[in-house]
């Protein structure tokens, strides 16, 4: 029976049920690491694409570290590309989002739009933090 109190069916991630600190740690890891073992095995083609993307990104950062300029367009493009990739990976590996307040422990199955909202917003926050941090340290100049 469908529960109308949740936009999609409720889901319980593997880490739910531990202590508060362990739960927070697991959630932080969940935000930063989109892969899971089962998803990794299922999405072979996507993982290959991910490896290629990681190599390309590494190359770009190495070039940047060697003194080549990264244009804002390239950085935003990289961020956007990664976000699209993360949406696809998460839908296979960790296909759930939180329902309700961030301090709660209710999760539900993620639709494509839920995942786009989640990944887009999360990466915007991470990107902004990185940008501000790197700029204030003088490591990034635009």
């Amino acid at each position: 029976m469908i529960d109308p109190r949740s936009m999609t069916e409720p889901v319980t991630p593997p880490y739910v049920g531990g202590g508060a600190l362990a739960h927070i740690g697991a959630e932080i890891w969940d935000h930063l690491w989109p892969w899971s073992r089962s998803g990794f095995q299922r999405q072979r083609a996507i993982q290959a694409a991910g490896l290629a993307l990681a190599l390309a990104a590494t190359l770009v950062w190495v070039l940047a570290a060697l003194g080549n300029n990264l244009t804002p367009g390239a950085i935003i493009g990289w961020w956007f590309g990664w976000s699209v990739f993360e949406v696809v990976v998460r839908l296979g590996s960790k296909p759930y989002v939180k329902e309700g307040p961030w301090w709660g422990q209710r999760y539900r199955k993620a639709s494509v739009m839920d995942m786009i909202c989640y990944v887009g917003f999360k990466n915007l926050l991470i990107g902004a933090t990185l940008f501000i941090g790197l700029k204030s340290l003088g490591l990034l100049v635009i």
Partner: protein, 724 residues
């Protein structure tokens, strides 16, 4: 990057073509991003490139650029003789004040020999709001207000206040930042040239009286107490590749201060310098490292040091070769090594070291993409430490920042607006009490508040304060975050600033529905039209799209949002133009009848459709709504549901937002928080599970207990009878 630029150029060209067809008969003369010859910044014959005669009427010949900052003299020929009739000057030769776009409005200004402004002409601007939002003619009209005004007058934006010798100028509604910046540009430029040519006399300030302090300090002590300060400019600040070495790294100080002079020059050097200075003259020293020279090459050609000057209030003090002395060495212990040094003499009686002053470094910044060079300045404030001044530092009242002036001038309206936002949030936080007082047939306890807020939102917030949030602000924030965050940019419009704080907070707590459904001026106008139309007998013509179509069309707004976001990466100007998909500017900022007919027609169609469909723009097109809908996925507190809602369609049928699906689930990205479903949730006559329970209890003679938070009657729990 070339192909990217070409793509952007093509897109801009296409859009310009469309807009010119649509609305702008004078588009060919538009100053928006108008190409200006590169020589405009450097050619001595300025008037070969710009229409000087337009700003100094009656003049028929012009001198080459002269002075520092630069100006040209305007002459009229009469009987074979040339008479000086005024001056023309380019704003970017004098100040580098950015407008809303972050770029300066390049303005040619004319002034007669008495200091009266005779003409102003905008040569180039990058203000998106003036491209489509507000006709450029409005800015032209604004700067015409300066004609006939004396440059020495205190001119500010807004109404002249009683008791203040201030001339007020009419602002441009919706372009406050632009006009405040433009006022500073015109007045500061005018004063700088009027001072230079002797129209404005400098009023001498009280000179510094040194306290009896005569110690000798090390370099580190001088730096610590602020007697030596530093001004560093990095190459990337001038559009050059980043490098380990700064472009210039200047350390400087005021040598008249006995302790400083003796510490830097030694006793003999200090005495020697003081004997060279006449009363009222001042000496500063500069030592510098870096890849380039702070002296520049101007002093070789014309005896003028064109890269450094001293600024105090609105005065600028420049240096000629006669104002220069060699600094043979720095005696202070621990002084750093340096590549370049100088002592400069300020001879102007208007300068006083008792008050703060700035060392200013002037340079050209190269735009990495276009190669265009803009004049920029970097400055650092210096104030002689209090212990050297007899009686300490004098009290200095610094003028308020432009944004602070706006906040102070509109304090009452801001107070009312804050009260409104707090009231809306408070009412919504207490929605449970209101919905319990309402029934399906009488929703006034909720609607009285909601309709009141709509009317206030349309009248006071929208048409009155012009505080209609827009997707362009989201894009501006996105870009500011990436490129240059300026709080001033956002603080200059207090209503929008406060509104966004409200929007961000309430979106995270309750979702976008509170703003979109209760406070958005255009959304409120749209739904009010729908409600009024229904009330006056047009209900039979009103309809909602089938869910199948709604579920397809609702994605359009997300596509519009992502489209705008993508375009903004390539060109913010283009994105702002495309943001005309929002009818907000036409409705509130400019006025429906002040725009070209396609814009008016667009708004009319949207509002006309609102008679028959509830909020068509909000549901299907609004990019702002889409941008807020996305974080609404993670709102903390949603609306309530019962398990029976998955089979019962009572709420879904009445949901004007079409946000309840066939399983009774609420899509909080689409919900406008009308609260109709929450009214039903506790209505024991309208909510089927409740009505059923009510009937059952009534039939069984059981009491009707209050309805709990879960939306059901509180269960009756028989208590075992107490033993006698």
């Amino acid at each position: 990057m070339k192909s990217l630029s070409a793509l952007r150029g093509a897109a801009m060209a296409a859009l310009f073509a469309v807009t010119s067809l649509l609305s702008l008969p004078a588009a060919a003369e538009s100053a928006y991003e108008a190409p200006l010859p590169a020589e405009i910044n450097s050619d001595p014959d300025l008037c070969k490139h710009v229409p000087c005669a337009e700003v100094v009427p009656g003049a028929d010949s012009f001198s080459p650029r002269k002075g520092k900052p630069a100006y040209v003299e305007a002459y009229r020929s009469e009987g074979g003789q040339k008479t000086l009739v005024g001056y023309a000057f380019l704003s970017t030769d004098i100040v580098d004040i950015p407008a809303y776009s972050g770029k300066p409005v390049i303005t040619l200004i004319g002034m007669d020999t008495k200091g009266i402004i005779t003409g102003t002409k905008i040569l180039r601007h990058s203000e998106p709001i003036l491209l489509l939002g507000i006709p450029e003619s409005v800015l032209t009209k604004f700067i015409k207000q300066y004609l006939g005004k004396y440059v020495g007058d205190k001119i500010e934006i807004g109404k002249a206040r009683e008791g203040e010798a201030m001339i007020g100028l009419d602002a441009i509604t919706g372009a406050t930042v632009t006009v405040i910046a433009q006022n500073q540009v015109i007045m500061r430029s005018g004063v700088a040239i009027a001072r230079q040519v002797g129209i404005l006399k400098v009023e001498p300030k009280p000179q510094i009286k040194f306290a009896a302090v005569n110690d000798t300090l090390s370099w580190a002590q001088l730096v610590d107490e602020g007697s030596v300060r530093r001004l560093t400019v990095q190459p990337e600040q001038l559009g050059m590749p980043r490098a380990a070495e700064p472009y210039v790294d200047m350390q400087y100080g005021y040598l008249n201060t006995p302790s400083v002079g003796r510490s830097i020059l030694g006793d003999n050097g200090y005495q020697s310098l003081m004997t060279q200075l006449k009363p009222g003259e001042h000496a500063i020293f500069i030592i510098s490292n870096g890849s380039d020279s702070f002296k520049g090459s101007g002093f070789v050609r014309g005896g003028i040091f064109d890269r450094v000057q001293v600024g105090q209030d609105m005065d600028a003090y420049t240096f000629r070769d006669l104002d220069y002395l060699n600094l043979w060495g720095v005696k202070a212990a621990g002084a750093p090594a340096y590549k370049e040094s100088a002592i400069f003499i300020i001879r102007d009686p208007g300068f006083s070291a008792a008050y703060p002053w700035n060392l200013v470094f002037l340079a050209n910044k190269r735009d990495r993409e276009t190669g265009h060079r803009d004049f920029v300045s970097f400055s650092d404030e210096y104030w002689v430490p209090a212990r050297y001044i007899e009686g300490g530092r004098p009290k200095v009242v610094k003028p308020d920042a432009p944004w602070l002036k706006v906040w102070k001038a509109r304090a009452v309206e801001i107070g009312l607006f804050v009260a409104l936002l707090v009231a809306v949030a408070t009412v919504y936080a207490n929605r449970d009490a209101l919905t319990r007082r309402s029934t399906r047939k009488n929703k006034w306890p909720v609607n009285a508040f909601k309709y009141t807020f709509w009317i206030i939102s349309i009248g006071f917030v929208g048409f009155g304060m012009l505080a209609q949030p827009s997707i362009t602000q989201v894009l501006t924030w996105f870009h500011s975050l990436l490129f240059k965050w300026q709080w001033e940019l956002f603080l200059t419009d207090p209503f929008i600033f406060l509104f966004w704080i409200f929007i961000i907070l309430t979106t995270f707590v309750w979702g976008r529905g509170l703003f979109c459904g209760w406070m958005c001026p255009f959304g409120s106008l749209s739904e009010l039209i729908y409600k009024v139309a229904g009330a006056i007998g047009l209900k039979r013509f009103q309809f909602a799209l089938p869910m199948k179509w709604h579920n397809r069309l609702k994605w359009i707004k997300y596509a519009v949002f992502f489209g705008l976001l993508a375009v903004s990466v390539f060109s913010m100007g283009l994105a702002e133009m495309l943001a005309e998909v929002e009818p907000f500017k036409t409705t509130f900022l400019v006025g429906m009848f002040n725009r070209a007919w396609p814009y008016t027609l667009f708004v009319a169609v949207l509002l006309g459709l609102s008679i028959f469909i509830e909020r068509p723009f909000c549901k299907y097109l609004c990019p702002l709504g889409a941008s807020l809908a996305m974080p609404s996925t993670f709102r903390w507190f949603g609306l309530k549901r019962k398990q029976e809602c998955n089979t019962c369609k009572a709420c879904a049928v009445g949901c004007g937002s079409l946000a309840i699906d066939e399983h009774g689930r609420i899509d909080h990205r689409e919900c406008m928080h009308c609260l109709d479903c929450m009214v039903l949730y506790t209505d024991e006559h309208a909510c089927p599970p409740l009505a059923q329970e009510r009937k059952r209890r009534t039939k069984a003679g059981l009491p009707l207990t209050p309805i709990g938070k879960d939306g059901y009657y509180i269960p009756i729990k028989p208590v075992p009878a107490a033993k006698a």
